[in-house]
């Protein structure tokens, strides 16, 4: 599936930029990332913000490399302090070492002790002084120039990126920014690193995971979306709304999530592939509707962008703690599809696959993305188009014997769409007989329970159910956004000559028991890695009987990202 396993054996460079409200740390990071992209690097930018609604202190974390970047590293090579106000809010998110460098402005005062404590080098650059020499000059642009130099990025690439990102602010602003950037860039001619720039690539994308889910939705054929805004999922909807209508589709902003889920069920009953996106609290409100979609066999896809839970929790930070509700959160016996993208790039394929699987199997598909995927900006190779031969089975010429919920060899029954003569039926959330007439008889219940189970259990999902890499007698099982850090660990081990098997599960339900068991057959050590408190995947795999008793769990809740070093320690020391 991906060529990312090389990443960690290759070099990468990590930069964190922090500043208080209004200092522009995020813009600085974004320009830096795209400048690196102009040089041909791939990369990732995540961000962290304080509790303010807007404009509070924030940090932008950028990492770039010749190869795919799918997580932040253990430490930052470079920390750029636009100022030091409220830095304690971020300190634990910004690990440094004695190999790190801190770029700081003497005018901002001394570098705080908690940053210096690990022995990082300090390089002082008078951001403020330089900026104040320019009318309207902003110190973050000076810092950007100095940072780009340290990163060894080409000045022209940096200038292109400044123009691209600040372009809509007007010419004057761009001009001043360029001057400031040059001041920073030219003050000191000693680039600290010399990652070889691969040269700009024509097929690189700059995209967030939320946008990538949007692309996947469209590729999968989604043409109707109803949704209610929620952090951190709204950008999926905001990206889709203007684009859907260009493709003959539409997005409806609903009054709440109860409406949005039932709206997409209605639309899908009408034959249009439909999707919604939400996060934990919204998903909670949708579970009744999901049951209806499942029993009426109306395909729908829900992208759930996970955030810290439970309840309102930590809306702006990432966590993988909605696996339980995704798999088990419906009342009754309710098997359905649960998938998780393994990287920002994979958001495209996984969402496309989910939509088409839902259509093909006439059921509910849940896609578990999370804040760290959804709201991070990545420079990736453009994901190739994949044609999947998965589509809704439609009955175009129903006869008098037509049965909406007929038992068929694959347990999927052809759907007659409104408008089709002779195929009239009533879809129902009540248990029913094959015709769709409500029934409370044991035989009908059992028949339809079996149908809904076996259409999933017996379907051949092929090889995409997981990314499996490496070999050896040790194995890490992971899912979703934790995959990036796990793959980095695999790369390290490989570089050291030891090898490990990595199973990153994309299709969480129905679990591919036989394939998993097969892969785990001769393992001496199995570690299950995920970003939550309870070890939800770990317990789920046990529930499904695929894990050896000796398997271990590394479960770390959000909001801090799971770092490769932490995983390596768990591998070594028994969790």
């Amino acid at each position: 599936m991906s060529d990312s396993s090389k990443q960690a054996t290759s070099q990468s460079y990590s930069v964190a930029i922090t500043g208080s409200g209004g200092s522009g740390a995020v813009t600085t990071g974004r320009i830096l990332l795209e400048a690196a992209a102009q040089c041909g690097f791939q990369g990732l930018m995540t961000r962290s913000a304080g509790p303010q609604i807007r404009g509070g202190e924030s940090a932008a974390m950028v990492r770039f490399s010749q190869d795919p970047v799918e997580c932040m590293g253990d430490e930052y090579d470079l920390l750029v302090g636009l100022d030091w106000r409220n830095i304690e809010r971020f300190a634990d998110e910004l690990p440094l070492s004695d190999k790190s460098l801190i770029l700081s402005d003497p005018a901002a005062g001394e570098v705080p002790a908690l940053l210096r404590s690990n022995g990082a080098d300090i390089l002082e650059v008078p951001f403020k002084k330089f900026a104040s020499g320019l009318p309207g000059g902003r110190l973050n642009m000076v810092a950007l120039g100095a940072t780009a130099l340290v990163c060894g990025l080409d000045l022209k690439a940096l200038e292109t990126s400044v123009k691209a990102i600040l372009g809509n602010k007007g010419e004057g602003i761009v001009e001043t920014a360029l001057l400031a950037v040059r001041l920073g860039y030219n003050h000191d001619h000693r680039p600290r690193i010399t990652l070889e720039a691969p040269g700009k690539s024509a097929d690189h994308w700059s995209i967030t995971g939320n946008q990538a889910c949007g692309v996947g939705a469209l590729r999968g054929g989604t043409r109707f979306v109803a949704a209610y805004p929620i952090t951190p999922a709204s950008e999926i909807l905001e990206w889709l709304a203007p684009r859907l209508e260009k493709l003959g589709g539409s997005l409806l902003q609903a009054e709440d999530e109860l409406a949005s889920i039932n709206m997409i069920i209605g639309a899908s009953f009408g034959g249009v592939p439909s999707l919604t996106a939400t996060s934990g609290p919204g998903l909670s409100l949708m579970v009744e509707g999901l049951g209806l979609a499942l029993v009426s066999e109306t395909p729908v896809t829900v992208v759930n962008v996970m955030r810290g839970g439970p309840s309102t929790g930590i809306p702006t930070k990432s966590e993988q703690s909605d696996l339980n509700i995704a798999i088990y959160g419906l009342h009754g016996d309710a098997p359905h599809l649960v998938l998780a993208p393994l990287s920002i790039r994979d958001c495209v394929f996984t969402t496309q696959w989910a939509v088409q699987l839902a259509e093909h199997l006439q059921t509910v598909a849940l896609v578990l993305s999370d804040q760290s995927l959804g709201q991070s900006q990545a420079i990736i190779k453009a994901p190739p188009q994949r044609e999947l031969s998965l589509a809704r089975k439609v009955e175009a010429t129903p006869d008098a014997e037509y049965q909406r919920y007929a038992i068929t060899p694959d347990n999927v029954s052809a759907m007659s769409l409104p408008g089709t003569a002779g195929g009239m039926y009533t879809a129902d959330g009540l248990e029913h007989n094959p015709r769709g007439t409500p029934s409370s008889m044991a035989v009908d219940h059992r028949t339809q329970l079996n149908k809904r189970l076996h259409k999933l259990e017996d379907f051949d999902f092929g090889e995409d159910w997981a990314d499996v890499e490496g070999d050896g007698r040790q194995c890490i099982i992971t899912w979703g956004s934790s995959t990036g850090a796990v793959k980095e660990v695999a790369g390290w081990l490989l570089a050291q000559g030891s090898s490990i098997k990595i199973i990153s599960i994309r299709l969480l339900a129905p679990l591919q028991h036989d394939r998993l068991k097969d892969l785990l057959k001769d393992m001496e050590k199995v570690l299950v890695v995920e970003q939550n408190h309870a070890g939800q995947l770990f317990h789920y795999l046990h529930a499904e009987g695929v894990l050896p008793v000796s398997a271990e769990s590394l479960a770390q809740p959000g909001p801090l990202p799971l770092r490769p070093g932490r995983i390596l320690r768990a591998l070594g020391g028994g969790g």
Partner: protein, 275 residues
């Protein structure tokens, strides 16, 4: 191609209704199929969407497409269907509990949104299917439910007033005991371009035997109706006894329907991510 005209009975599915003998909902079923026949609707181009309740069982008894959803969400499902399939005639239906209690929010927003659909609420001032609890339209002193042994003590919900305040463009009241008038109202509702709300007084013989009195109490509205003046409509609704039938208010507002502008390819859209 000329198709032989369908009769009301051709719109019935033949599935035996679970309703109690004498239930008002039978008359609504009849009136609706008559309205469909009158309008010459093509069966497969109609979808009847409902929630949960005795009344919400309606779709299965009609030989069009039907969607029997979950409690309170009929209008949401109907709105999604209509948004995605503007070619269909969409009729939402349900009870007073389904529509005004658990479904109240969707009612508010469907009135505002003004999509082209009819919404029929079979109002029996009770939760029939769950065996007789008070609904929002139940009078405050009705004390026959053990859940509210002294009555709810809460003034009853005025569906027409809410619909008007929320911006509905067609508001009518019918009675299952006046089937031909009801048929006429349903015809007008389906023909109205936009959201058309019909409250049908449809008695529950089992839990509200007192509603037999409706035969005497219900009467055609005495005002000169319909009006298209919201202030006048508000006056009429506020002053009324809730038992006057007819189209109270009819006014055309812009109908909301998402616009599909098919002028691009996905390939082109994806180009925006290139650096």
């Amino acid at each position: 191609m000329t198709v032989p005209a369908l009769k009301a009975k051709d719109y019935k599915s033949g599935i035996k209704a679970v309703w109690c003998p004498g239930c008002g909902h039978f008359a609504v079923l009849s009136a609706l199929t008559k309205a469909m026949a009158h309008l010459g609707l093509v069966k497969e181009e109609v979808a009847v969407v409902s929630g949960i309740g005795c009344s919400s069982r309606l779709p299965a008894y009609i030989d069009t497409y039907g969607f029997h959803g979950i409690h309170g969400r009929a209008l949401a499902a109907a709105s999604g269907l209509k948004a995605a399939r503007p070619d269909l005639t969409v009729i939402a239906a349900g009870g007073d509990g389904d529509g005004f209690s658990i479904g109240g929010n969707h009612f508010l927003h469907a009135c505002r949104r003004n999509m082209n659909m009819a919404y029929i609420v079979m109002d029996n001032e009770v939760y029939g299917m769950t065996k007789g609890q008070a609904s929002p339209t139940t009078l405050p002193d009705w004390s026959n439910s053990k859940m509210t042994p002294h009555g709810t003590g809460i003034p009853s919900f005025n569906p027409a007033a809410i619909a008007l305040a929320a911006g509905a463009g067609f508001i009518a009241r019918g009675f299952s005991g006046e089937p031909s008038e009801l048929t006429r109202l349903l015809v007008e509702a389906i023909e109205h371009p936009g959201f058309a709300f019909v409250q049908v007084l449809s008695g529950c013989v089992t839990y509200r035997p007192d509603q037999k009195l409706w035969k005497e109490e219900v009467h055609p509205s005495e005002s000169d109706l319909p009006t298209d003046d919201p202030v006048k409509a508000a006056q009429i609704i506020q002053a009324g006894d809730g038992k006057a039938t007819g189209v109270i208010y009819a006014k055309q507002f812009p109908v909301w329907q998402p616009e599909n502008r098919t002028d691009s390819k996905l390939n082109t859209i994806e180009k925006e991510f290139l650096l």
